[in-house]
Structure formats: structure tokens, C-alpha cells
Symmetry: C2
Subunit: 317 residues, 2 copies
């Protein structure tokens, strides 16, 4: 580990913490599949992150973490600093190197949802943690460095900006229950009696999809068995639909937004998928207006994207 440890610096104009983790520059970058660090260690071969011949789901600390359990104190600078206290974990879905969340057996996908829920609760209980977010980056277009099916979990020592905005919204009411009551079927991709997947009418990406329980749950730890099954099935349907849309693996960033600590009474848990594709071969780039002003320009209508995805998902089921 180099001398420069992780720490936070305050951005005074945007009013947010920025995390510095210089040791991450050397992280593993698209190794050939025989050197995949997320595969089980094979007898006589190099030691991967997983010292077992097989497993169902593996969780371990990220070797290149942005947040640390016991960080050093941050140096004093010309802007406020803070230790980068927290945790970064990796969740490997399967011992198989190929596949994705949709190709897992249903029972494994339900187990995955339970693992995310358990880790959220365990990490949230630690001193200094304010918010825990499981997320999956999929595809080289979003910078994925390891293709083995996996997600990550970040445990933050503060409530990040997007979650602060959501908390503010949920303090005025259950925005998602309101939305479900008003939206009708036009935005639905797939649903059952407990869970709905929709392109939200205010989507910021052409094929953005949200999955949410119809009744308010603050996190997946509040799900009953039926909700676990429904949510896991919706995850599979959405990812299978994405992959069928352009007949190739569909890149996305998927985040789980569960309640930050102390917000269990108002927050409505949901997953958000942000896919970077506008068409089979064109990316939606974030540029001047998105990065510099925070305002997204979208050239696809959510109701049209929902109709297309709904048809694809129906055809597959």
C-alpha cells in the first residue's frame, strides 16, 4: 500500500465529499479469463480471491477499496478533509466465469438478494457508516474491469448527494407509491402483484428501468419470501429483456437504493438501471449539460422505451 491513503475532501462549490484513493490506480484491469481473480482457485494454479473449489455466493473485501474500516487520519489541507471510513465489498454471484444475473437459477438469484440485504444490515450497523449501496457495473462501456458475474457494495461514512435528494423527496410523501398510482400501465415493463419494473416517466437514460416493491419497504431486508421471489424474477426479466433488445450483452449500471441509516420510516427501496446505450451501436454520452449543469437531455421518450422493453420481455416469458 503506498503512502497515500484514502481520504475525503470537501468540494465547497458542489457541497459534496470527493473520495481520493490513489492506490486504486494499480487495480486489476481486464485480465484474461484464465487469470480471473473471481473464479475459484484451481488445484496447482494461482490463488484467486476465493480459496475454495466451489461456492454459491462469495462476499469479500475489495482489494482496492475506496473506503477502509480503520483509515488513517486525513492530512489538513486548504479544504476540509475527513478519513475515508467505510467498506468496499465484492459479491460474486457464481463460480462460473460466464453468465449474468439473468442466467442464474432462480434460487441463486433469490439468495443474492438476501445476501445484499444481509450485507446492508451488517455494514449499516457499524459505527461511522451512514449509507450502504450494492451496485453492479456491467460491460466495458461502463468501465468494468472483471467480467466474472459480480456486484459491489460501498458503505459510505456520509449520505451521498443523490440519496440526500431522495431522502428530501420521501420526507414529503411516498413519491413511488404516488407514481404507481398515477402512471397507469404505459411505463410498465413487467409486474406482478408485489413488484413492478418500469421505465420511469422522468427517465434520464433512454432505457432506464426501475424495479420497486409496490408496498413501501425501506430495504430488501424487509421483504417477505414472496417479495424476494418477485423482485428477483423482475431483475431477471429486465436483464434478459435488455440482452434481447439488441441481441448482445447490454451494458448497465444498476444501483440499489435502500434507506440510509435512520430513514427506515419513509424511504421506499428500489433498484435503478442506467444503461449507456441509445441504440445498438450508439452510446449516450454525458457531456456539457449533464456533467457541467446536472441537466440531462434525453432523445427517447420513456413511454416508447417502456413499450419496446415490455414487448421484448413478454416475448421471452
Amino acid at each position: 500500500m503506498p503512502a497515500v491513503f484514502s481520504h475525503l475532501r470537501w468540494h465547497p462549490l458542489r457541497g459534496e465529499w470527493v473520495v481520493y484513493a490513489a492506490h486504486r490506480q494499480t487495480r486489476t484491469f481486464l485480465p484474461p479469463s484464465e487469470f480471473c481473480p473471481l473464479c475459484p482457485t484451481r488445484p496447482g494454479a494461482f490463488a484467486t480471491e476465493i480459496p475454495f473449489a466451489d461456492f454459491e455466493i462469495a462476499v469479500f473485501e475489495n482489494r482496492f477499496p475506496a473506503f477502509l474500516a480503520r483509515p488513517s487520519t486525513a492530512s489538513t489541507l486548504c479544504v476540509p478533509t475527513a478519513p475515508a471510513e467505510g467498506a468496499c465489498e465484492v459479491v460474486v454471484y457464481t463460480a462460473e466465469h460466464e453468465g449474468n444475473i439473468a442466467t442464474l437459477p432462480p434460487s441463486r438469484r433469490e439468495l443474492l438478494l438476501r445476501v445484499w440485504a444481509d450485507r446492508c444490515q451488517e455494514l449499516s450497523a457499524r459505527d461511522g457508516i451512514r449509507f450502504v449501496m450494492p451496485f453492479e457495473n456491467r460491460g466495458e462501456q461502463v468501465g468494468v474491469t472483471l467480467h466474472h458475474p459480480h456486484s459491489q457494495i460501498y458503505a459510505y461514512p456520509f449520505v451521498p448527494p443523490v440519496l440526500l435528494q431522495e431522502v428530501t423527496a420521501f420526507h414529503q410523501g411516498d413519491v413511488l407509491v404516488d407514481l404507481l398510482g398515477r402512471a397507469g400501465d404505459a411505463y410498465t415493463v413487467v409486474e406482478d402483484e408485489r413488484v413492478v419494473a418500469m421505465v420511469p416517466p422522468f427517465a434520464r437514460y433512454p432505457y432506464e428501468v426501475w424495479i420497486m416493491p409496490k408496498a413501501r419497504r425501506s430495504g430488501p431486508w424487509e421483504f417477505d419470501d414472496g417479495e424476494v421471489a418477485s423482485f428477483a424474477r423482475a431483475l431477471a426479466d429486465v436483464v434478459r429483456g435488455y440482452d434481447a433488445l439488441f441481441l448482445k450483452p447490454f451494458p448497465y449500471v444498476m444501483v440499489l437504493h435502500a434507506a440510509p441509516k435512520g430513514e427506515d420510516d419513509r424511504f421506499h427501496f428500489h433498484a435503478e438501471f442506467y444503461p449507456p446505450l441509445r441504440t445498438a451501436d450508439k452510446l449516450k454520452y454525458l457531456a456539457g449539460t449533464e456533467l457541467g449543469a446536472g441537466t440531462f437531455i434525453v432523445d427517447a421518450l420513456p413511454e416508447e422505451s417502456a413499450r419496446i422493453l415490455r414487448q421484448v420481455v413478454r416475448r421471452l416469458s
Copy 2:
């Protein structure tokens, strides 16, 4: 123009407007240079956007605008909507198809800064406009569809989220004057008596650079001739330094943050460059934590990036 016009929809969880502009799907995408729509129209050839044989700087309305001067009323939806009132303009720096902001003659670069200032003032004066932002997207890595040296100007009918945050910060004091007083030389890339270019100590991109007047100006329209010359020179130094860093054209998003309407008394004008490169051949991708939580993880220290850029710029001058 298709039936679906531009309009705004309210994102209730993030508390921001999203702009829908479905007609932009057909916009011109990386045409061969002989069909560049930003070159002057040649006798007997197809009509470009510019019906002149030569020009200094050309400004015209974007043919694929996100915002319109007289938008239709937005339909009623299950979320609040509003007309996408505003303007989108293109600013072409030169009749030459090749080059960039650093290869312009100094007088042309100063003229460019005056053109941006004039357009900001003219557009801001229109009813319904709350904020005007000139910006330049450079490089295919940030989605540029036309290589001819140019920038864009968006005139928004609301104050976008990032600018709202900056306004909030400036209401507590002049954050940039404070920063300049405290930062010392460690973050400076280049400076003179009137203007400084720095890697801010809270940079969110590995080679992020800000250029600002040392004295508070609410926008470039308040610059005296000396400030125009200094700011234009700093723009050239930064872009020339960027291009020398990896010995190839350096992609970036550059935005000008001038005062939103009514904020002239507190806002401190500055330019922000967001380059997507971490190294000569590695991109910084925005993924789970950046897009889903709004928290940036950076693996380069600002003081180190500043030292590198400072050396490159000094060597060139």
C-alpha cells in the same frame, strides 16, 4: 420535425427537470470532413450551416435544439411537465476545419471570449431564460459528433442543479477568493496577475482544471481588456498543456459557469474542464458510485496532477 416536441418532465426523486428532445435522434453524426456542416459553404458544393466563404466566428441556432424559443405547450402527464423554452446555439471558432481553441490566434481567442459574453447577455435578457452556459465538448470519448472547432451555448428556462448548488455556496461567501487565498501554489497550473488556472484541491476528474479571474466577476461580460487577454491566454495554455500531456488531442468537457440571472452580486465566474482520461489510454468511467450516489472516487491526487500539468505548460511557454 416529428410530432414529439421538446418538453421538460420533473424528476420527483432527484428534484430536477429532465429535458426530452426526441427529434435529436437523427442529428448529424461524425460526417466525413468534406461534408462538415460547420465549414463555410464552398461554391458549387452542398450548403453548410454557414452561407459565407469565410468568417471569424459564426454563431447560429442549433439545428437539433434541446430548448426552443417558442415551444409548444407540454402535454399533461403523471409527473409535472413544462415547455422546453430556451435556446441552443453553436459557436464556430474558425473557418478552418482543423485545430482547437489553443491553435487560434490570440486575437481570435479573445474575440471568442467576447462572443460568449455577448451571447450570455443577449440570451439572459430574454423572458423565460434563467441561466446561460457556453460549453465545449471535445473528442469522441465525450461523444463529439462534429470535429470542426466549436462550442455550444444552452439557455435554460430554470437554474440547473449544479448551478443551484454553486449559488447556495456563493451566498455564504466568495468560495473561490477564499480558495485562492488558502491554496498557495501547489494547485496552480499557470497564472498571471489577473487569472489563475488550477487543479482544484477537490477535483473530481484526474486532470480537472478550473480557470478563474482572481477578482470576482459575475461573468466574462464584466472583464476589462486585461482580463480578457489573461483568461484567453490561460485557456490556450491549459488546452496546449493537455495536448502535450499524452502527445495526442486531449478530450474534455469544458463549461463556463457565469452567474444565473439575478446572481450578479455574489457569483464568481469560472471555467471548469472535465477530462475523461486517467492515463494516456485509460478512461475514468462514471459508474455505480458516481451515477447512482453522486459521489466521485478519484485515483489521482490534485496536487500531483497540478505538478505534472504545470511542468508541461512551463516547458511549452
